[in-house]
C-alpha cells in the first residue's frame, strides 16, 4: 500500500469517509441557514443576532467550521494531486503542489480562527 504524507488521514479510505461525514454536516448547516433566511422575510438584526447567540447554534456553527476545514482540505488535496503533477506542469510539480497545499492549509486555518471569532465573539 502506498502511503501518502500530505492527505488528511494517511489513508484514502479514511479521507473518503471524512469527506462524506463532513459533507453531511455542511449540507445540514447550509439547508438550515438557507431555510431560516427564506422563511424570515424582512429579517432584522435582533432576530439574526439571537439565532447565532443561541448555544445550540454556536455548537452547530463550530461543528460546521470543523467539517469545512476537513472537507476543504480533502477536496483541495484531491484536486492538487490530480492536476499539479509532473505530467501537467513539469519537474517542479512537487514543489508547486506542496506550496499550493500549504497555502490551502494556512487559508483554512485562518478561516477557522476567523469563524470562531465570528461565532463566539459576536
Amino acid at each position: 500500500m502506498v502511503t501518502n504524507v500530505t492527505n488528511f488521514s494517511r489513508s484514502g479510505l479514511y479521507d473518503w469517509m471524512a469527506q462524506r461525514v463532513s459533507a453531511v454536516v455542511l449540507a445540514a448547516y447550509v439547508l438550515f441557514l438557507l431555510g431560516f433566511v427564506i422563511a424570515s422575510p424582512g429579517l432584522g438584526y435582533a432576530e439574526w443576532h439571537a439565532l447565532f447567540s443561541n448555544n445550540a447554534m454556536r455548537i452547530f456553527s463550530l461543528l460546521t467550521l470543523v467539517a469545512l476545514s476537513v472537507h476543504a482540505w480533502v477536496g483541495m488535496w484531491t484536486i492538487s494531486t490530480d492536476y499539479l503533477t509532473p505530467m501537467a506542469i513539469g519537474k517542479w510539480a512537487t514543489v508547486v503542489r506542496f506550496l499550493f497545499q500549504a497555502a490551502c492549509g494556512v487559508a483554512m486555518f485562518a478561516f477557522f480562527v476567523w469563524g470562531v471569532q465570528i461565532f463566539w465573539g459576536n
Partner: protein
C-alpha cells in the same frame, strides 16, 4: 490507496480507466500503456458534472472569505447588519451572492448524488449518465429559483 484518484470527487471516467487496465491484464500485451492523463481525455457528461463539482468546490473555497466577511459584519452590530442588507440591494452584490450560492447549490446537489451512488444506486455507466443529467437538471432548477428569490 492514498492516491488522489481514489478519494472522493472521483473523476467519473475512473471506472473506464480501471476497466481498461483490467482488460489490459487479460490482453496478450500486458505492457499496453494506460492513459491517465486527464487533460487528453474528452469529457463525457459524467465528466462534465464531475468537473463542475470540482470547479464549484474551488469557487467555494475562495467564496468562504466573502461569506465570512458578510456574516462577521452582519453580526457585529445593528449598523453592520443594515450595511450588509443595503449592500445586498446592489445588482453587483446580488450577482456575486447568486454566483456563490449557485456554486454552493450545485456542489450540494452533486454531493448528494455521490452519497446516493455510495449506497450502490446508479453506479453503472448508464446509471452514471442518467445521474449526471439529473444533477444538471435539478441544479439548474434550484439555481434559477435562487435567482428569482434574490431578485
Amino acid at each position: 490507496m492514498g492516491d488522489g484518484y481514489l478519494t472522493s470527487a472521483l473523476p467519473d471516467n475512473f471506472a473506464l480507466i480501471v476497466r481498461g487496465s483490467q482488460c489490459d491484464k487479460k490482453a496478450v500485451n500486458s505492457q499496453r500503456p494506460v492513459n491517465l492523463d486527464l487533460r487528453t481525455i474528452k469529457l463525457p457528461i459524467t465528466g462534465v458534472t464531475s468537473f463542475l463539482h470540482r470547479v464549484s468546490g474551488i469557487i467555494l473555497f475562495f467564496g468562504i472569505a466573502v461569506l465570512l466577511y458578510g456574516l462577521d459584519k452582519s453580526l457585529a452590530s445593528a449598523e453592520g447588519f443594515a450595511e450588509v442588507k443595503e449592500c445586498l440591494t446592489s445588482p453587483l452584490a446580488k450577482f456575486v451572492i447568486w454566483g456563490l450560492l449557485s456554486a454552493l447549490l450545485y456542489h450540494l446537489v452533486a454531493g448528494v448524488r455521490h452519497l446516493i451512488m455510495d449506497m450502490g444506486i446508479g453506479e453503472t455507466l448508464e446509471g452514471g449518465k442518467l445521474g449526471s443529467k439529473i444533477v444538471l437538471v435539478v441544479s439548474t432548477i434550484v439555481i434559477v429559483l435562487l435567482g428569482v428569490w434574490i431578485w
